[in-house]
């Protein structure tokens, strides 16, 4: 109904009312002060404001307090006894869990409580390492932290907690590779493939739930974050292979091969299966970077004259980005047409 009505105002797109519109109408004398206030109340009812403020206060306030706690324990104040240090972390962890049980995981208060408990658990592990000088490598801290909070992450179904957990897992994998696996030169670059596969696995799980059970899926913004991380990780072996193919190890070759498969998979999935212009654009940007590097490599090897080198690169860049924009526009139009059907 709304769409049809909105067609009176604009035929091909719904125009949404917002504050800027109200202020412009008021400034141009098209509505009076009374209408402006009514309109603002309509767009932003007081109770909605209160809810939003309440929520943002909780999220930002908790983030600041948790950051402050991390800063404080990083300071490692020698005057505080180990016992006090432990108690001062354990009590908040227990309090957060109690709060989570009280509020329940369907409310933002409960979710923030379990997130705080998860972060504080990591602080506890770090302080434990500080005090007992366990000599354990850093990857072990992240491993134990990740394992301990995993059940909370699963039951909480909270985007921000998932992100924290993914960061912990990625850090664990990277540090493990560096500190424990200590690969030979031939396998060094495998970490990029492992990390990309790990993140791709979680992206796949996210998409599975989003497709079949949208109510259980984690946020769309997390999909974009995962996409950026996967594509960035894959760019490293691909660019290494292009720039110095003669020195490419088998890990780089495998990484580059995997990278192209992932780019292809993203283009296929996010065009045909789960249309998403942001993921497609990120993939396209990544491909632009790859093609740019190939052009750079070719031009620098084939032409010795500086001026021709710059000219060809300028033209190819113009072509690559224009072509990408044209493709993306066509894809967006096709998607709109598909949605309309």
């Amino acid at each position: 109904m709304n769409t049809k009505k909105s067609e009176n105002i604009e035929s091909d797109k719904i125009i949404m009312a917002d504050r800027r519109m109200v202020e412009e109408l008021y400034a141009h004398g098209l509505i009076n002060g009374k209408a402006r206030l009514y309109a603002l109340d309509l767009l932003y009812p007081a109770v909605k404001w209160a809810l939003w403020v309440s929520r943002i206060l909780l999220v930002v306030g908790s983030a600041l307090v948790l950051s402050g706690i991390i800063y404080f324990y990083a300071f490692n104040w020698a005057k505080i006894t180990p016992k006090v240090k432990f108690i001062s972390i354990e009590i908040p962890v227990i309090a957060c869990l109690a709060a989570c049980l009280y509020f329940g995981l369907n409310r933002i208060s409960g979710k923030m409580s379990i997130l705080a408990a998860s972060v504080l658990l990591g602080v506890f592990l770090a302080v434990f390492g500080q005090i007992y000088q366990t000599g354990a490598d850093a990857f072990q801290l992240f491993m134990v932290w990740g394992i301990l909070i995993l059940p909370w992450v699963i039951i909480a179904r909270f985007d921000s907690l998932w992100l924290i957990w993914l960061v912990i897992v990625n850090l664990f994998a990277a540090l493990y590779w560096d500190q424990a696996a200590m690969p030979l030169r031939e396998a060094e670059f495998m970490i990029f493939s492992y990390l990309a596969l790990l993140n791709a696995f979680f992206l796949g799980i996210r998409e599975y739930f989003a497709y079949d059970r949208p109510d259980r899926a984690i946020g769309r913004w997390l999909k974009v974050v995962l996409t950026i991380s996967i594509l960035s990780l894959m760019l490293i072996p691909i660019i290494s292979l292009i720039v110095e193919p003669g020195r490419a190890t088998s890990a780089i070759k495998f990484g580059a091969f995997l990278g192209f498969i992932i780019h292809g998979a993203f283009l296929f999935c996010y065009f045909f299966k789960i249309p998403d212009m942001w993921v497609l654009s990120l993939t396209a940007l990544s491909l632009c970077v790859i093609i740019e590097v190939i052009c750079f490599k070719l031009v620098i090897e084939l032409f010795k004259f500086e001026s021709i080198f710059f000219l060809l690169l300028g033209i190819s860049t113009l072509g690559i980005f224009t072509g990408t924009i044209i493709c993306l526009r066509k894809i967006a139009r096709n998607m709109e047409a598909r949605d309309a059907r």
């Binding site: 709304n2 604009e10 125009i15 949404m16 009312a17 009514y38 767009l43 206060l57 402050g68």
Partner: protein, 377 residues
């Protein structure tokens, strides 16, 4: 209060309402609050006429133009077509490229999906970037002062802003002016007291312009990129100042105190709350007064990044502009990272700043809950 039935749907965040413009006008008309419904509809349609390119395409346009213009400038220089030592020559070439950019854009047509249109738009943007870079280089050489950079950038932005209708170009050009001013104040002003004063005044100037662009209803939509450039510049400046310190690694000279900037941002936060409240009558209401008091308190104990970030989150919500909210959230994250590494405070002091700021916000949350202000939903 508006009828609940008049709400189209809840937005994804669940806390604001999305109402189509048509429904909005209908509601106001049915309530007898407006006259000349047709005129209002016409106004709304005309303000929407400007074609908006999706953000992801704007990013691609921007990156493509930046890279290609860099290569073309390299070509023009290395081929000897442009003599970079010739001051008037640079300016003349810049004018040629800028005119070419405008002509290309004007002749690119309306077919957004056409290959030729997109190629011409991208070429036009690239040509404009080359023209502007050459103009800034040329005028700076002519004036023989580093202040020529922001001055030239300002002049060329002023000339092209209304002629060349591309939001990415408007945003980037305006941002370059502001950013270059900040850097030159930092690099060129050797006298610490003067430098601090000028930097603070520059920050204040940016805040005033941002506020004017935000609140003046007759501001045209084409000035939205300018508004974002100012906001982005404020964010960059806050993060930049956080990275400076008395014993800092970036500059080993003198600390730039953020006290005045904290005061400016505290006042801004209070004004943002007042603006969001909508009217002077609403200002007298308990929640708004409380928010203002909390902001004042926060100003005493908190840091600039936190204050600006909260202001942006409020602006983003109040304006239905997710980009502003995203900038607020990202600023908070970047600020935290820089804050951790800036050395003029010990980690314990930083922890105290963060924990006390967080406690103020959480106290506000508990008060809202206690008074059940958010309990209707």
């Amino acid at each position: 209060m508006p009828d609940k039935i008049s709400m189209d749907k809840y937005s994804p965040d669940g806390y604001s309402t999305d109402i189509s413009a048509q429904k909005f006008v209908d509601i106001l008309s049915n309530k007898g609050l407006i006259e000349g419904k047709g005129q209002i509809e016409h106004f709304i349609v005309s303000r929407e006429m400007e074609k908006r390119i999706p953000l992801y395409l704007r990013i691609l346009f921007g990156i493509g133009a930046f890279l290609s213009s860099s290569f073309f400038i390299g070509f023009l220089g290395s081929a000897g077509i442009i003599d970079f030592d010739s001051k008037p020559g640079l300016v003349i070439w810049s004018v040629i490229f800028i005119i070419a950019a405008v002509v290309l854009q004007k002749t690119s047509g309306d077919n957004e999906n056409g290959s030729l249109h997109n190629f011409m738009v991208q070429s036009s943007f690239c040509s404009m970037a080359i023209g502007k870079i050459l103009f800034v280089a040329g005028l700076t050489l002519i004036l023989n002062t580093i202040w020529g950079i922001p001055l030239a950038a300002f002049i060329i932005t002023l000339i092209t802003y209304n002629v060349y209708k591309m939001s990415v170009d408007r945003f980037l050009s305006s941002f370059v002016v502001l950013y270059s001013v900040m850097w030159i104040i930092m690099l060129e002003m050797k006298e610490p007291g003067l430098r601090e004063m000028v930097l603070n005044l520059f920050f204040l100037f940016q805040l005033i312009i941002t506020a004017a662009l935000l609140t003046y209803g007759k501001t045209k939509r084409e000035y939205i990129p300018l508004f974002y450039a100012f906001i982005f510049s404020l964010c960059v400046m806050v993060v930049f100042l956080t990275s400076q310190s008395e014993i800092g690694y970036a500059w080993r000279e003198v600390i730039i105190s953020t006290v005045f900037i904290n005061i400016e941002l505290t006042i801004s936060l209070i004004l943002v709350i007042a603006w969001a409240a909508g009217s002077s009558d609403n200002m007298k209401k308990e929640p708004v007064l409380l928010a203002c008091c909390a902001s004042l308190f926060l100003g005493f104990i908190s840091a600039p990044g936190i204050l600006l970030s909260i202001s942006l989150l409020i602006l983003g919500y109040a304006n239905h502009e997710k980009l502003l909210s995203l900038m607020g959230a990202l600023l908070m994250i970047f600020f935290m990272i820089y804050f951790y590494y800036s050395l003029d405070l010990t980690l314990a002091s930083k922890a105290a700043v963060l924990i006390s700021s967080g406690m103020v916000l959480l106290a506000g949350r508990f008060y809202i809950k206690f008074r059940q202000m958010d309990s209707e939903v």
